[in-house]
Amino acid sequence: MTAIATERDVPTSYVFFAMLRRDIRVARRELPFFLVRTAMQPLLLMIVFGYLMPKLGVMQKGYTATLLPGVLALSLALSSVQSVALPMVAQFGFSKEIEDRLLAPIPNHLVALELIVAGTIQGMIAGIFVLPAGRLIMGAIPGLALSNLPHLLGITILGAATFSALGLVMGCAIQPQQIGLMFSSIISPMIFFGCTYYPWTALDKVPVMKYLVLVNPLVYVAEGMRGAITPDVPHMDPLVVALVLVGLLLLFWHVGKRAFLRRAIS
């Protein structure tokens, strides 16, 4: 065996941030497509339910206060989960692009962690875009309070991170040919039963539904958003929201990390 003359020590953090820089550069380049992909649906929802229908008198005017946090949660969750899952399905599945990063001198689970951090950032960017857009489309929102910034920031980061971790799980589990199926079987029910269009407390009238939807992580982000920006709308206790989201984040990370390592090393 030959002794290696120079042991080049590479700080793990340097490699981690190099990968993050890569993801940010790619995201910045694809920003218009990214926004179309993730913000189109929330924007259309706001135009129809938050602008047109109240104008037509079909919806109550105050409905926008319920809708805005829901739509914000939706865009945050969708963009986070897609930012992680979609590239992963392709890069693990057929292009194998991820291999260059898997061969970098850092533990492979940090490559997975970096994907979650990048997804969280992208989710937050989608939120930052949708919030003012919503205000523009729907006009003055009754009871909108953006003063509790730490609360808003906290739920945004936690929600985006949880859904990025879910993206990791899905990115590892889904085969390229199943992407369409993922949207119709997982994402769509999640959107419709995610308390995005209606507050969770209003489900009192349909008790079965009220407890069934609790398996949906989007419920907690939407309710957390209501607590943060429209506190007058009845909403779930922010502490419960935070605890559940932290729990889900840890669960998804644990499952996603294991699945990632199984894909990374055979």
């Binding site: 065996m1 030959t2 002794a3 290696i4 080049r8 020590d9 590479v10 700080p11 340097y14 490699v15 190099a18 990968m19 820089r21 890569r22 550069r25 790619v26 380049r29 694809e30 590239p87 057929f94 292009s95 194998k96 692009e97 291999e99 260059d100 990063r101 898997l102 061969l103 970098a104 001198p105 850092i106 533990p107 990374a264 090393i265 055979s266």
Partner: protein, 342 residues
Amino acid sequence: MIETRALTKVYAAPAPRKTPTGPTGPTGRAPTAPNGPAGRGARASASIVALDGLDLEVREGEMFGLLGPNGAGKTTTIGILTTRVRATSGEACVAGRNVSTHDTAVRRLIGVVPQRPNPDRSLNVIENLVFHGAYFGIGTAESARRAIALLEKFEIAEKATAKVDDLSGGQQQRLMIARALLHEPEVIFLDEPTVGLDPQARHALWDVLRALHREGRTIVMTTHYMQEADALCDRIAIVDRGKLLACDTPAALTARAPGATLVDLTVEGDLAAAAARCRLVDGISAVDVVGSDLRAQSLRGGEALPALIRAVEDAGSRVQNINLAKPSLETLFISLTGRKLD
């Protein structure tokens, strides 16, 4: 520099995932890797033995070839040495570091050229190299300097800002080599580097590999092309069914090849009777029945052919096809494994 001891890899997967392009990638679960010729069939259906106690030693500065048919275990061997596949048992070390316990240290020392180019398609050509450098702790300015030098060396400098999809297959393969070299690794692994390249691109790549070898780098490559292994490698390991069959210089291996030309006759009719007749032909040292073929070892090369055909016909059979193989790595391979390379 590289050492493996009793390396074994058993894939638990009952059936390898079918991809339209066939078994590729460093995890390449070659579905053709059977569990021995016969007898262990029951277990083979539940798992695939890709490596079956492989011992290898690669010296520093050596150009080392792993030669074998598809499913021989070549890609799995590379996968283990490059930390992407975990061995079921046995040990593998690169530059004195155990690949399973010191994987990140090993990754720092190796450059990997995959079987199929896998550039980062979201980045352009030079970004691929610069970010790769960053993953190995090299600053942007230094990475860019090295990247430009490598692109010039591999004659793709004019494509520096192009999308990787705009590169031809050969150019993408050269980009992969440039990427593998950017962090100046001690060992370079290439998995079937010339598969899918046209002859011109293949020879250009050979020149690149020879130049790297002259620089004193340790190079490990897999191939199932005899000629490629013969032309490039200092030493060749012939592997099949996860086992090492022979390991030596191309010259020494060729010298070990049976001295006779192998004549394969595909025969319709009574093989045993035809074989018996053929054994009487002048200049034929041995005749074996291999499947529906007769394999004759001819000391007179192709000159014995008319007599062989007559002998088969005298036995009441007919020759449908003829194949000749001169003494070479190929005949050695056939004599070792009983089958042809591809």
